[in-house]
Amino acid sequence: MKVLVAVKRVIDYNVKVRVKPDNSDVDLNNVKMAMNPFCEIAVEEAVRLKEKGVATEIVVVSIGPKVAQEQIRTSLALGADRGILIETEEKLESLTVAKLLKAVVEKEEPQLVILGKQSIDSDNNQTGQMLGALTGLPQGTFASEVVVEGDKVNVTREVDAGLRTVGLNLPAIVTTDLRLNEPRYASLPNIMKAKRKPLEVVSPADLGVEIKSTQTVVKVTPPAERSAGIKVADVAELVEKLKNEAKVL
């Protein structure tokens, strides 16, 4: 079966985020960018499905500027077969992203679409679910286990109260949580091989999707600073402070 994986180029997980002095946005100039960590988990899951003989082809799609090809190449080096970049310089909202992905799903007709549950920049946690609604496909969000059996997939989800498993008819959509797998690193020979794998570039217009924005960022500010307090010498002093100074015990 064919698996489609969506990946996003975001600020590197380890970079300290700074807000621009004019409060218009965060400063992404000269900042290290990388694949969104949840998307890495999505790619890894697809590759494991292929290694198990469940998946036959892995198509990776990304939406973003030309340089987002880097994240597609990384996915190809990890084991995906071909890539599609929907190239745009515009900052897109989730609904538009979902509409673009819907167009790719209609064209590619994958049996399984795997996405990260959220990107670590906007922290929206929306795209997979929106894609589910637009395509009419069922979803297994926040997945910690994915088991494909015949024309069904069982997805174990990390929920507030513990774990919940849902059974979905294929085709279906899965969004990844942290403990679904531990992504591998790409080997040097595979990075070299990835350079020769096909990567198609299309525009939103090619897919017949109009870019529409309904949200305006009024301002972006740094969070309220929390200043370091005091060090206490021992547990007795700690308990005394909590009882008499902070009055929280």
Partner: protein, 309 residues
């Protein structure tokens, strides 16, 4: 302007997170109605009707909503919600699951995880794991919003007497079904509602060692949480994770034990009123946000803490 709040519940009891959502709805202003979708959820509807300031409770009682499956909920809320100005739900794993489906079906964008209301169309939400705070204005005809509970003080659970109305819509999902669940069993308070939270990190070493935290927790009525590192290492289950992608907590007292303080963890607890850090590494970043820091071996300090509280 009428706001539809989607109740969070387990068919037996109303989840307290709903009260925070109602509080957010009150800040937006207008009539507030509550949808209770579940199976045999009459008691939840009655509790919802008692919340102060609610004008109507709509109950969709059907096997289709027993487990609040996203496909069924998304369809139901999109159909019922079409006439409202705002649709609000808690930013729980249930709300996060179905609300984006609802938004897409209504052809609108969604505003996730709001922590403040500026006006009826402008909301404040953390981005980049809370390292930046965005104020976002929406021009969508219906605002579909999830609410982070820690941003709003709970609305009073008593004082209202809203009419309860039944809705017969059946949106049974044809493509998905509940299979099974493993729910955490604990007599301790719920993490997101507890007044005191004590959390363990990688420094706990293993799952058995969490026992020393449970002992302190049981003595002071605290909930027990964990850092991602402790959950990834398999010490404790995922439902205990506090952080950017786990639970967001803001108790009166948060005690971080053996937690270094990665930004993803801080994102889940830095709104706590008082933060205590116990860590043997005095350079650990957790001390930069702690009101009271104790540089000590947790295996000495925690048992002593249990004795002294």
């Amino acid at each position: 302007m009428t706001i539809l709040v989607i109740a969070e519940h387990d068919n037996a009891a109303l989840n307290a997170a709903t009260l925070n959502v109602v509080a957010a709805a009150k800040e937006i202003g207008g009539d507030i109605e509550i949808l209770v979708a579940g199976e045999a959820c009459g008691a939840v509807a009655e509790a919802a009707a008692k919340i102060e300031g609610i004008s109507k409770v709509v109950v969709a009682d059907s096997a289709a909503y027993k487990y609040q499956i996203a496909e069924a909920m998304g369809d139901l809320v999109a159909e019922l919600g079409a006439g409202y100005s705002h649709i609000l739900a808690a930013a729980t794993t249930t709300g996060k699951d179905f609300m984006p489906r609802t938004a897409a079906l209504l052809d609108v964008n969604m505003i996730s995880d709001i922590v403040a209301v500026e006006s009826a169309d402008t909301f404040v939400r953390p981005i980049y794991a809370g390292n930046a705070i965005a104020t976002v204005q929406s021009s969508d005809s219906i605002k579909v919003i999830t609410v982070r509970g820690t941003g709003f003080d709970a609305a009073p659970a008593e004082g209202g007497s809203a009419a309860i109305e039944a809705n017969a819509a059946d949106k049974t999902s044809a493509t998905s079904a509940f299979v099974s669940e493993e729910l955490a069993k604990s007599d301790r308070p719920d993490l997101t509602a507890a007044e005191i939270v004590i959390s363990g990190g990688r420094g706990m070493g293993n799952g058995e060692n969490f026992e020393i935290l449970y002992k302190v927790a049981d003595k002071i009525g605290a909930a027990v949480g964990a850092s991602r590192a402790a959950v990834d290492a398999g010490f404790v289950p995922n439902d205990m994770q506090v952080g950017q992608t786990g639970k967001i907590v803001a108790p009166s007292l948060y005690i971080a034990v053996g937690i270094s303080g990665a930004i993803q963890h801080l994102a889940g607890m830095k709104e706590s009123k008082v933060i205590v850090a116990i860590n043997k590494d005095e350079e650990a970043p957790i001390f930069q946000v702690a009101d009271y820091g104790l540089v000590a071996d947790l295996f000495d300090a925690v048992p002593e803490l249990e004795k002294l509280v």
